[in-house]
């Protein structure tokens, strides 16, 4: 291994016009947050942070929320960032305060969410001594942050924070961690900033190459059966209106990933809904039949492609992504375009001529009729989770921003809720973090007070983070939990049901809490329903009751999510409907890869 250096670096930063002034590290942190336009900080104090916290009390520009568990601070920051597009911020103490953030940071990393996490650290002289509440958070987060810093001098603090925000929000967004030793916060340093952040080795490409854009336009024109495949990147880049324009002008059907939901209206006649493991059958069949697949800010995740060698085999692949490493990582791209999704599509749209594709449209229509997204709900049966979501969608529609936890309910929400605008659906995609949705909804409620923040939850997930009801109550944040309660870890149970001869190992909760009582004990409100007839009145009650509300919907635990492409299987192996008892025998005895 070699250590290469460029001798005599010539990049001394230009001094700023601001007069250098010595102020305390804590003051620098506060001012930096102000300068970055931060409105909310989600945190939990500890001795090391007291100097910073003191400033939040003395001034009022930035609101600090004292949460109950640091994991949720990160998820709230994520929820805030996902709903607003701005950088979410959390601030926790050293040691356990920092390690408790790790799940949230990893979650943000997997879904490319801009958050900046500040963690306290023991004094620089104590680092490495196993001091009280010391943890090597920089070492632990090296592979799960876009970048991280241990600040060693108060003089570096202002510039580091500026860089942290810059890195978090530019390019492919992601989490950045800044570790703040106690002495750096206590000491005095210069609040001095370069006029412009200029980082060697970090220069994201945002403008697509004109030649590639030309090729994209030509390929679209030539294609008979094109398909747009839209991911979370389209939402980060605010590319939704360009996508609608492209789809409508060139008559291209659109399917989206879990994280892309909302980038294209679900009910649009060109929308195929979500694709992938639990995507619609018609979206998945369309990927098999298309001759041109235009991926916009999507990363060909295994939950989308299934067996990647059999994914979209007839199609030429266009891949538009801001992150060059995402292109060609899982699937080879015929026309790679590195750039910001919106900027690239603006250019593409300039070149596109109106086109119609009646045959392709007809074919899609047939697939849609033949393999609709459905469920059975016989009279007298327990409430089906799908019908509860349909009811919710019809009752609140575009008044709400939906977050979810992880599991079956998440898939049903993505399938059955009618999304109309970007950032309306907020879910943990890559990491699949149970316990994400509720704290994220709190962040959402703060970011978008004009909308109703509803967490469509499963009971296994919600139980992980229920303590945060206290936070919602304390700050009077009106989040609503739409709890699809089947008293089991439903998705795990589904796999055990399908692939393990119904050996239900450690998934059923033998006793469930009384959620209504819990809601009340926390100072919130709640209602429990078991009958179908109650669904809509209960939803009305939920949205009309001020403050946090938990609607405990008792649903059928035996309901499974379909369609389903077994993990590692190809799209053609998709199980379309719940006729498992007959079809599955023999065919799917092998265990999925992942």
């Amino acid at each position: 291994m070699a250590v290469a250096t460029k001798a005599k670096s010539q990049t001394a930063k230009q001094p700023t016009k601001l007069k250098p002034q010595k102020i305390s590290g804590a003051e620098i942190v506060y001012r930096s947050l102000e300068r970055e336009g931060v409105k909310y900080v989600f945190g939990h104090p500890g001795a090391i942070l007291l100097t910073v916290l003191d400033l939040f009390l003395k001034r009022s520009k930035i609101k600090h929320l004292l949460i109950r568990h640091e994991q949720c601070a990160a998820h709230m920051a994520e929820g805030y960032a996902r709903a607003s597009g701005e950088v979410g911020v959390c601030l926790t103490t050293s040691g356990p305060g920092a390690t408790n953030l790790i799940t949230g940071i990893t979650d943000a990393y997997m879904d490319s969410i801009p958050i900046v996490c500040f963690t306290g650290q023991v004094a620089t002289s104590m680092v490495g001594n196993d001091a009280f509440q010391e943890a090597d958070i920089v070492g632990m987060t090296r592979t799960i942050t876009k970048h991280n810093y241990l600040v060693k001098s108060t003089d570096d603090l202002a510039e580091t924070i500026q860089e942290a925000f810059y890195i978090a929000r530019t390019g492919r967004p992601g989490p950045v961690l800044v570790d703040l030793p106690k002495d750096v916060l206590l000491g005095d340093g210069n609040y001095q900033l370069p006029e412009k952040v200029d980082l060697r080795g970090y220069k994201p490409t945002t403008k697509g190459h004109p030649r590639q854009i030309q090729r994209v336009a030509e390929a679209i024109e030539k294609s008979k059966q094109p398909l747009l495949y839209v991911g979370g990147g389209a939402i980060h880049a605010e590319a939704h209106s360009e996508i609608v324009k492209l789809a409508e002008t060139a008559e291209i059907p659109v399917t989206y990933t879990l994280l892309g939901a909302g980038a294209f209206p679900s009910a649009h006649e060109l929308s195929l809904g979500m694709l992938g493991m639990h995507g619609t059958a018609y979206a998945n069949y369309a990927t098999m039949e298309c001759d041109l697949l235009i991926a916009v800010g999507a990363r060909f995740d295994d939950r989308v492609t299934g067996k990647v060698s059999e994914f979209a085999t007839r199609a030429k692949i266009i891949h538009i992504d801001i992150d060059p490493t995402a292109i060609g990582k899982n699937k080879k791209a015929d026309i790679p375009v590195v750039g910001d999704a919106r900027q690239v599509l603006v250019e593409v749209n300039k070149l596109i001529k109106p086109q119609t594709r009646p045959l392709w449209k007809k074919r899609i229509q047939n697939l849609r009729t033949e393999y609709p997204l459905t469920f059975d709900s016989p009279d007298g049966a327990p409430i089906k989770p799908q019908e509860a979501i349909v009811a919710l969608s019809e009752e609140v529609g575009d008044k709400a921003i939906i977050t979810t936890e992880v599991g079956q309910h998440q898939m049903w929400a993505a399938q059955f809720y009618n999304f109309t605008f970007p950032r309306q659906f907020i879910s943990s995609g890559g990491l699949g973090t149970m316990g994400f949705g509720f704290p994220a909804a709190i962040g959402v409620a703060l970011a978008r007070p004009d909308k109703l923040a509803i967490d469509i939850a499963g009971d296994g997930s919600f139980q992980m983070v229920m303590q945060e009801i206290a936070t919602a109550v304390q700050y009077e944040i009106p989040v609503k939990v739409f709890l699809l309660n089947n008293a089991t870890l439903g998705m795990v149970r589904q796999w055990q049901d399908l692939f393990m001869d119904r050996r239900f190992s450690e998934v059923d909760f033998e006793s469930s809490p009384d959620y209504v009582k819990l809601a009340e004990a926390f100072g919130a409100s709640g209602r429990r329903i078991v009958d179908k007839e109650e669904i809509r009145p209960a939803i009305q009650e939920m949205i009309n009751t001020p403050g946090p509300f938990i609607l405990d919907v008792i649903v059928d635990p035996d309901e499974l999510v379909f369609p389903m492409v077994p993990a590692g299987g190809a799209t053609k192996d998709m199980i379309v409907r719940d006729s498992r008892k007959k079809i599955l025998q023999g065919k799917l005895s092998a265990l999925p890869d992942n």
Binding site: G43, P45, A47, L50, L53, D54, H64, L66, H69, G95, P96, T99, N100, I102, T103, T106, M110, N129, A131, Q133, A135, G139, M140, T141, T143, D301, D302, G430, L431, G432, T433, M434, G435, Q463, M464, M466, Q467, A470, Q474, M491, V492, W495, Q496, M500, R503, S505, E506, F509, S511, P513, D514, K517, L518, E520, A521, F522, G523, G568, D593, N594
Partner: protein, 564 residues
């Protein structure tokens, strides 16, 4: 015999005598769970993976045995990190088995993939990513050996899904082999160092013993008692060493450091010989190093070479297992007699006892005192982190080792409830009391569902002051009472929350109900949550401000000190 990877690992775990698992299943660990079910391996399904780690931690601290923690990949694994860091800081053995995406998917940012191997390097004693089914047997054995021998600690095995279902030929361990695959990793007895220490003891006029977690982990309590009594040397126990020496013994000086007893800190400042047995001179114990034991020759016995001389310069270093060293010391020890010194520290004990005021409100110390009274020091005591933890350390008088479960090094709020559940699984015959604060308790209260499901009769006493009390105390003392973000003005009703989980819950607001409610809890057959609405602004005294020397200890609030 041909078995799949999951079966091989389970066979090895059983062969090593592991009897308990805590965890939550998920996609990438499902085959392993399927085999756990078939093998009828005892498993506790928790509500959050952090809880699973702390349960295994509590289980290990009380039983001395190691348990496994099983989680899925991605968030399941990252949720463990705090629990691992906590076990690492306090040297608690724990084996984490995390599912991972299939080997051909690693590095592709697959669904629920996280670089757990990389993340857990700083917080484990060692970790493995299994890439071949033929490694499982070796790795599992090594993992258990590394976790339990030498200075114990957590280990992690990252177990990709495809390897869990790959078959391989398995040769079971010979029954004649010891259940633990390797001999003890203890260094040879340092007889030279021991002789030096014996000579120093003879020369000393004011010797003091400080016993750390090493006493408990090496099982040296009896040897310590013999040594201290024969040599007539008073004993201080660090936070993690509590229980290593009987709390009621006249030679016992309590806990040192930031919130230690006055007499322990006086003794440290005045002693001319400090015998450190398995404690690591943590910053919360030493205060400012330059004024730590300024007059003393320092002897340090530790199993971990890297601890010796790390922060405090040691004159007599002895690398070794504390128990082995104590046995050797006891063999050669001449009975000691330090009358003058004994008089000095006895006077200190009399003149500067631990105390608290009475004002009609529920004083947190009083609740702890009452718990001590009804259990007579024979229970198992578990805490969260904060003021209540310090009060419990001060006011409980432990009769035996491994009855005190607290998060020392990492100071993990939320450790208490899951650790208490784990402790109860380890020793069901003991009464387990969790003394917790409202801030700590709220962090992991979801595990009440676990206590309810398995009917684990832990007794929870929440000392609820609606503050993060320790933070508030610092703000009161150092920030002119500006209580920035340490206050919970609308705290939940923990009694009713307990009921919501199906656990008996009682709110106590009157000091006269304290004893009754404790008795009710003790008699109740099942988990109980007692929510004591205690005096909100009570502070922990004595206190050595962070970064100050132990000689700068404040005994009581400045106002009161002035009066006396």
């Amino acid at each position: 015999m041909e078995l799949n990877g999951s079966q091989i690992m389970i066979e090895e775990l059983k062969a090593a005598g592991i009897e308990m698992a805590f965890g939550i299943p998920g996609g990438a660990i499902m085959p392993f769970y399927d085999e756990l079910l078939k093998a009828d391996f005892p498993h506790i399904l928790t509500r959050h993976e952090q809880g699973a780690a702390h349960m295994a931690d509590g289980y290990a601290r009380v039983s001395g045995k190691v348990a496994i923690v099983v989680t899925t990949s991605g968030p399941g694994a990252t949720n463990l990190i705090t629990g691992l860091a906590n076990a690492q800081m306090d040297s608690v053995p724990l084996v984490a088995i995390t599912g991972q995406v299939a080997t051909n998917m690693i590095g592709t940012d697959a669904f629920q993939e996280a670089d757990v191997y990389g993340c857990s390097i700083p917080v484990t004693k060692f970790n493995w990513l299994i890439k071949d089914v033929n490694e499982i047997q070796h790795v599992t054995r090594e993992a258990i050996r590394v976790a339990t021998t030498g200075r114990p600690g957590p280990v992690l095995i990252d177990f990709p899904k495809d390897i869990q279902i790959t078959n391989a030929v398995y040769t079971p361990r010979e029954s004649a082999e010891s259940p633990l695959p390797a001999p003890r990793e203890y260094p040879e007895l340092d007889t030279e160092g021991i002789d030096k220490l014996l000579a120093a003891i003879e020369r000393a006029e004011r010797p003091v013993i400080i016993g750390g977690a090493g006493i408990i982990k090496s099982g040296a309590s009896a040897e310590l008692a013999e040594f201290a009594k024969a040599a007539d040397i008073p004993v201080i126990n660090t936070l993690l060493g509590l229980g290593g020496f009987p709390g009621t013994d006249e030679l016992f000086l309590g806990m040192p450091g930031m919130h230690g007893t006055a007499y322990a800190n006086f003794a440290l400042c005045e002693c001319d010989l400090l015998i450190n047995l398995g404690a690591r001179f943590d910053d919360r114990v030493t205060g400012k190093v330059s004024s730590f034991c300024p007059k003393a020759t320092i002897a340090h016995v530790d199993i971990d070479d890297a601890e010796i001389d790390k922060r405090v310069h040691t004159h007599i270093p002895i690398l070794g297992n504390v128990r082995d060293v104590l046995i050797a010391l006891n063999e050669h020890l001449k009975p000691g007699d330090y009358d003058e010194w004994r008089q000095t520290w006895t006077d200190w004990k009399e003149n500067y006892p631990l105390q608290y005021d009475w004002d009609g409100s529920i004083k947190p110390q009083y609740v702890i005192d009452q718990i001590q009274e009804i259990t007579e020091g024979n229970g198992i005591y578990v805490t969260g982190v904060g003021q209540h933890q310090m009060w419990a350390a001060q006011f409980i008088r432990f009769n035996e080792p491994k009855t005190w479960v607290t998060s020392g090094g990492l100071g993990t709020m939320g450790f208490g409830l899951p650790a208490a559940i784990g402790a109860k699984f380890a020793r069901p015959e003991k009464e387990v009391w969790l003394i917790d604060g409202d801030g700590s308790f709220a962090m992991t209260l979801v595990e009440l569902a676990t206590a309810a499901t398995y009917n684990v009769p832990v007794k929870v006493a929440i000392l609820n002051n609606a503050y993060l009390g320790m933070v508030r105390q610092w703000q009161e003392l150092f920030f002119e009472k500006r209580y920035s973000h340490s206050h919970y003005p609308e705290n939940p009703d923990f009694g009713t929350i307990a009921e919501g989980y199906g656990v008996k819950g009682i709110n106590i607001t009157d000091v006269n109900e304290v004893r009754n409610s404790l008795d009710t809890a003790a008699e109740h057959d099942g988990p109980v949550v007692l929510n004591f609405l205690v005096n909100k602004e009570e502070n922990v005294w004595p206190m050595v401000p962070a970064g100050a020397g132990n000689d700068e200890m404040q005994l009581a609030p400045p106002s009161r000190e002035a009066k006396s």
